[in-house]
Amino acid sequence: MSTAAATLDAMVPRAYRVQAVGRETSDTFTLTLRPEDGGEDGGFQPGQFSMLWVFGVGELPISISGDPAARGRLDHTVRSVGPATHALVNRRAGEVVGVRGPLGLGWPVEAARGRDVVLVAGGIGLAPLRPVIYEVLRHRDRYGRLVVLYGARSPRDLLYRKELAAWARQRDTQILVTVDYGGLNWRGHVGVVTTLFRYARLQPARSLAMVCGPEVMMRFVTRELEHQGLAREDVYLSMERNMKCAVGFCGHCQFGPFFVCKDGPVFPYQRIRAWLDKHEL
């Protein structure tokens, strides 16, 4: 396919039918979508995103949160924060949405083979990292230890609670969860996600870290990863900016010299480090 044809293809949404809408928290839902024509799709790389189009309302960039091995099925976890996301999470089973994608560059799962995989997530940032967890647990012998540090605002805001408990039972896997503010009934850890590092059994020299969450959280986490002894080249971040075309034409998602939609959303920390400290960028 020519570049022009490929670009045109990426601009045309494909119809997907909503198979299920699962409630994760009071405002966050996971939509399971299947191609309306029942056909296959080309799969996706962990960390890629889709543009989801609610007809008559708008189009949104949403990370793919499902299992990369589940062909013909796309899961997206969406937090309802505005009219478009509200419309999206209110789709019912059987309704149709438009899907462009998968788009962007994902997590370096190939480069992580043979190494310990350290995932650090804040809030809904766990969603784009969940495909990495599926990938590592499915191909357990290809990777070293899996360490997941996950922080949410409160116990009510924790995503995938049953899965977190199930993942924690897997071999060579350490799942650490914290909340910023806990009620008296919460028996888990309380504190920001960086406070979990003291409990993580890390081997920095053989680890590769993937981080996703609010930008302020990623600033604190990258500092902590360096403090722990991870090399900057071994740290990857998933960035978020306002996306429109999602193929690098419109410039809405420009971040320094990069377009987040096309050059990311996953970036090596070393590549964007200088831009993370720019005020108001």
Partner: protein, 152 residues
Amino acid sequence: METLERVIAEHPFFAGLESYYLGLLVGCASNVRFAAGTYIFREGGEANAFYLIRAGKVALEVFAPQRKPIIVSTMGEGEILGWSWLLPPYHWRFHARVVEGTRAFALDGKCLRQKCDQNHDLGYELLKRFAQVIERQLVAAHYQLVDLAAQP
């Protein structure tokens, strides 16, 4: 059986401390246990100790008018609990509630303050170590604050 001196010497908080100073510290240390649901200290109470947590979990709570206390952080194995013993007026700023049965070494603050007054080198070594604990918790508090301010 592990001696008190050996366990304290192996704790990362005291890494690099000369054995002479360790000996001074051990004179102020004791083994303590707290059952789940009890309080190690309460806000406003006299602060006359700090704790090296060996096992268990402790929640730091803040009193909030007209509502239940809020847990602002939890601490577990290997962590240092309490620095109010170090600075006047020596009053605790939080409640410390035991979430899971906890074993710790308690270091008597009055005893330590006296030894630090007599031996400023020991005081300097302790202050350096506590400054790191305070800095870590201050950074975490800043992060928590910025995170709160950034909420949509």
